[in-house]
Symmetry: C2
């Protein structure tokens, strides 16, 4: 098949499933693709628990872990996670916290039981991400590390590769892909603007071929808009070595997504998403709702940068996730997804999704060839 | 090849080239695709001249004409073009005209020789578009009419089809494609948000398969992001019956584009375009520059709607086009194009472009099949 990542990872199909649900990781890897656990929202203790479960259930199949390892912040020196968080909190205006809390209260989203109004820094900084990486590197089944934002620091790249694992990173611009290649990464994930979560402005159909041309031999996984086998065939036609999918797994049977949140996603059309800085401080694609609109208005606070905005909103992330069906929660819920969510309208199992992708893919390859002289 | 539009139009390849240049129309049709002349900026007299030239040079090859036939405006009754324009001018604030004129003057763009500061309504209304359509329908070589915005009125669809020609229309949303189908059009052009000119928000890789599914047998041409043969293979894999290209022809040898404007387009990356309402009043993708930024600021006029904004800016369109290399003209020039402009970096002839597209296409089809079990 000349799909080198398949050989290196020992998988049947270069279909990478980004998900926050351990069950999805296991099910996709067992179906011949590879599950990649998004770990940025986990504490090291939570990640340990998730990886214990995955290792117990995945058999001899490989999986990956996706984290965020930013380059160190200027002037942060070797501050501990606690010191860093304290310093960052001093930069957060109280008005932002009050505004976020009022939005949640006005829509009947219950408060967090222990009375706290933030989850702290989560895995968005070097200090908080390092323990997550260390945890992942203790696991034999974890064969791949992906960095969700930016090129990882050189020492981390070396550490992962020396352990016999592959390391790659996401990007939305040609120059980021070139920087990833120059840093020695094993693959890049090129995500077009239609993709979910943190995403750029250039559309997939334009971005992918340009990145393929810019990075030469280095494998590129195509992200942003992959929801069926036709889109997989299209990505491979444009030179991708495989596909990186996310939205596709939010509504599957195995996903832990709350029913109300799942319903919001199943109901959404491709016109119902927006790129918004309102949750993380960086442009992130998600379902449009009253929360995203509230942070856009001229008479309301402008979102802070990353990671400050995350300090303000992490309480909202957990509350709108756990209490998804309470009050008018869905009007202020954090529902990251790509535009491809508009073509996902029914609940399937991971195995059904994988089977469907492969069947659609075969048909699409035949369709692609219709302009050949002898067809 | 099972590409029904090719048979109906008598063309070798379902590659549609939208262009404002008659030379490009002729060269693409002679190379086996089909040129489509964008006529909205022409007066009926100018269009007559262009079509005379095309008919004289194109031999027995077919071509198309692209116009804008809006549904009639509410309350406009059977007003003449002159009455309508007078009424619309009354709705334009003087501050908008002054702001546009100052931007042009500040950047050294020469005034129009006859001292006028507007080209009037151009072909944006039913009253002004009808004479363009009538002119096109007198030409034996014109085999196709495309409507650039919205579903054409039923009487116009019937008129075109009764004349033995095909009629289609552009769209950027599934529901628009369905409306086109219900109105009885012969094809739709589905343009993703990365496309140039008037364009929506949903990316091509997400939009195309959804529209293919929504309109069943009706042929869909894929627009928005097509600049090489890999992107053509991708579009066909996703179910397109052909491709509709625009940016690809702005910089070819045959294009009348002024050298300074051509250079701006050749230099641009895919991150240098923006969707802006600043020229036509509707979201239109173009090169980002000081003009587009000036209309975004909070202390400047908000763009009017269509067709009012066009009354304000039509003088700028002709001046920045004709005087493209004067003063700092390129900083305020109207340079509509799609994100794919970033992969167009050299001047080629139309024949070279067509040849390249077909060669790249063949390679891409082979790439698309790499995940098949027996490849």
């Amino acid at each position: 098949m000349n799909l080198s990542l398949c050989d290196k990872l020992g998988i049947d199909y270069p279909i990478f499933a980004f998900t926050h649900c351990r069950d999805v990781v296991v099910a996709v890897s067992k179906a011949g693709g590879i599950g990649v656990l998004g770990a940025v929202g986990f504490s090291p203790e939570q990640l340990k628990e998730e990886l214990d479960w995955i290792e117990e259930h995945i058999g001899d199949k490989p999986y990956g872990v996706d984290i965020v390892i930013p380059q160190k912040y200027e002037g942060m020196g070797d501050m501990s996670a606690e010191e860093l968080e304290k310093k960052l909190w001093e930069m957060v205006p109280q008005g932002h916290i009050d505004f976020a809390q009022k939005l949640l209260a006005d829509h009947g989203v219950p408060e967090w039981p222990d009375g706290t109004t933030s989850m702290g820094l989560m895995g968005w900084t070097e200090a908080t991400a390092t323990p997550l990486l260390e945890e992942a590197l203790t696991r034999p089944g974890c064969k791949l590390i992906a960095n969700a934002l930016g090129t990882p620091p050189a020492d981390k790249i070396k550490q992962v590769q020396d352990s016999g694992r592959l390391i790659g990173a996401l990007c939305g611009k040609v120059k980021q892909a070139v920087a990833h290649k120059e840093a020695g990464l094993d693959f890049v994930v090129a995500q077009g603007g239609e993709g979910g979560g943190h995403t750029g402005d250039v559309g997939s159909v334009v971005l992918w071929p340009q990145i393929v041309d810019a990075i030469g031999d280095l494998p590129m996984l195509a992200a942003g808009g992959i929801g069926n086998g036709r889109q997989i065939a299209a990505a491979l036609a444009m030179g991708a070595a495989g596909v990186w999918t996310g939205s596709l797994w939010l509504t599957v049977e195995e996903a832990h997504t709350q029913p109300a949140q799942k319903q919001s996603l199943l109901d959404a059309t491709s016109e119902d998403t927006v790129r918004s800085r309102s949750w993380t401080g960086k442009s992130c694609r998600m379902l449009k709702n009253e929360w995203t609109e509230a942070w856009e208005r001229e008479d309301t606070p402008d979102p802070l940068g990353m990671p400050l905005q995350g300090l303000v909103t992490s309480d909202g992330i957990r509350r709108t996730s756990v209490y998804a069906d309470r009050g008018e929660c869905q009007k202020v819920a954090f529902n990251p997804c790509g535009q491809v969510i508009g073509q996902i309208n029914q609940v399937e199992s991971c195995r059904q999704v994988m089977q469907r992708l492969l069947e659609e893919y075969v048909d699409a390859v035949a369709m692609a060839g219709r302009m050949l002289p002898d067809s």
